[in-house]
Symmetry: C2
Subunit: 209 residues, 2 copies
């Protein structure tokens, strides 16, 4: 089993933190997104979508999606549980994970990919060209700020996003907050609970992954 990764990129960082929290070490193959190595013929043969992370199993099967990789690892290495323990926790964790992705992670990506001159014609990940849409960057900024306030309210009554246990929702939240700095979106001044949580999850050894 091995992981195709890019150690500067936020999407595979989600898997790296997940692995660190589980105490799993894997052989890592670095794909350098800064030099467009993801578009090379050799990497296209591994993942025609030209994205990382990709988990390649001993069988040759591949999983090319950060959350789907975490799902596989959660089943193979259940402890500590990071995607919820019982039915309700699993449902609630999945709902928060998806909210943070759609309103946060993808919105930061919308800001970055629709404004960066380097990503002109690459407003979406992958091999196909898509023109930038400036209005989408503006909308992305508003959505990220709204999510930060919502997370602040949620964390006013809980240690972690879904309750007393650290989960994949916290991992996605941490990566989203750090990714938002790339487009100069900081935690708003009035979000003290979100800031307290961000310090705590950043202090875990896994955050260095």
């Amino acid at each position: 089993m091995k992981l195709y990764d890019c150690n500067t990129a936020p999407s595979p960082r989600r898997v790296r933190i997940f692995l660190a929290e589980k105490g799993i070490t894997l052989p890592i193959v670095q794909i350098d997104l800064r030099t467009n190595e993801q578009f090379s013929p050799s990497f296209r043969a591994i993942n025609p979508d030209c994205t990382v992370p990709v988990l390649e199993l001993a069988s040759g099967d591949k999983i090319a999606d950060a959350v789907a990789i975490c799902r596989y690892l959660e089943v193979e290495h259940p402890e500590p549980r990071l995607m919820g323990r019982d039915a309700l926790e699993q449902g609630v964790t999945e709902a928060w994970l998806r909210r943070i992705e759609v309103e946060g992670f993808y919105s930061v990506m919308d800001v970055l990919r629709n404004t960066s001159p380097k990503l002109k014609d690459h407003a979406l990940p992958g091999p196909l060209e898509h023109e930038q849409i400036p209005a989408l960057a503006e909308r992305g900024r508003r959505r990220v700020e709204a999510l930060f306030h919502r997370l602040d309210a949620q964390l006013s009554e809980r240690e972690f996003i879904t309750g007393p246990h650290y989960s994949i929702a916290d991992i996605t939240g941490l990566v989203t907050v750090d990714f938002a700095r790339w487009v100069k979106l900081a935690i708003p001044e009035d979000c003290a609970h979100l800031r307290r949580w961000h310090r705590a999850v950043s202090d875990r050894p896994s955050a260095k992954a």
Copy 2:
């Protein structure tokens, strides 16, 4: 336990089909999206995001996301398994589910919400106003068509999207293909495998849900 639903809407249809495949019946509360009942004070008290589906448990806990509801139900009622049986199947099913959502379901939503005069200032679900972005509708059309061709290739070698077993990826695929008709996006002429699969999954009793 009860489900807040709208029997004309695609997002809760994913849960209805999932329930039908599991053989689960639940009390249903209809929320009429055509008359904007989701924005009423009484429904806002149930889900401040003003979206359906919402699953309300006997404990009062609520899960307000279609896939998170399915996750809860999969743990509580494991058979028949619709989200994968072993680790690899669970990972692969999740990867396809997420691809079909991001490239298909959300893209159809982008086309509809950024073109329909009725949805002016509601280019995203929920209570906040967002202006329509016409370029996003165009991009959505291209993404849906690309996904249909990709699914056709996948189905050229498999009975269902992830292999020999019907799964939540098929449910999301079926709902996406049917939702795409709302914006006049049909299965392309050259996608015979996708058409064969669509006939088969539409013939299952659950498709009437």
